[in-house]
Symmetry: C2
Subunit: 93 residues, 2 copies
DNA sequence: TAAACAAGTTTATAATATAAACCAAATTTA
DNA sequence: TAAATTTGGTTTATATTATAAACTTGTTTA
């Protein structure tokens, strides 16, 4: 009756990150930080977890001389996100 | 942009309990345990938290000679649940 | 060149979820 | 009727998690 909720997505900040990434081609660390209001530390940790799960990819480069971390959702991440949304609906109806 | 999610409801088991209670007049411990598949211990703890928050009420009585714990959602619990659902939609769209 | 800022990472702490162990009373079974 | 099992939980311990605080490295600005 109540499907298991993917614990990797059932987290406020990770869910917000995935929600953003599902709607854009890419987003960098600073953008995600601003949009979510998260602290850098928290965001850094959660990005690591999403990366380890293969839900997003992280590309490190530079914008001018400043470091720049760019995130993208993966197909597997998008699928997990969609499944999570479906599962959650069972809880809300 | 991303509203804060009520941490009391952003928990798989507590959300399931609230989801059930939002749809029925009352439900007892055993019913909730069966429907959610939770262990007794976990359910007991989460019911306590929802009670402490004023989201549900618990009535202890007997069915025949056996103890019986009956749970009901409160108006405040229903409102919190509805708000949670609305907040969550911001994350899913 | 010293102070402040940017863009993060690492580490420590506090909260949380969950399961394991336990308990008392009732019921069933040998 | 005594022992074992079941019911209906609670309490306690553990493992995970989220989060913030502290730190790092390099850059810009006064």
């Amino acid at each position: 009756m109540f499907p298991k909720l993917d614990p990797l997505l059932h987290s406020e900040l990770r869910l917000a990150v995935m929600s953003i990434l599902s709607g854009v081609d890419e987003a960098d660390f600073t953008f995600l930080k601003n949009q979510t209001g998260a602290t850098s530390g928290n965001l850094s940790v959660q990005i690591d977890k999403l990366t380890a799960a293969g839900y997003i990819t992280v590309e490190k480069g530079f914008r001018g001389k400043m470091p720049r971390t760019t995130c993208r959702i993966t197909p597997s991440g998008r699928e997990a996100f969609n499944q999570y949304v479906e599962a959650l609906k069972e809880y809300l109806s």
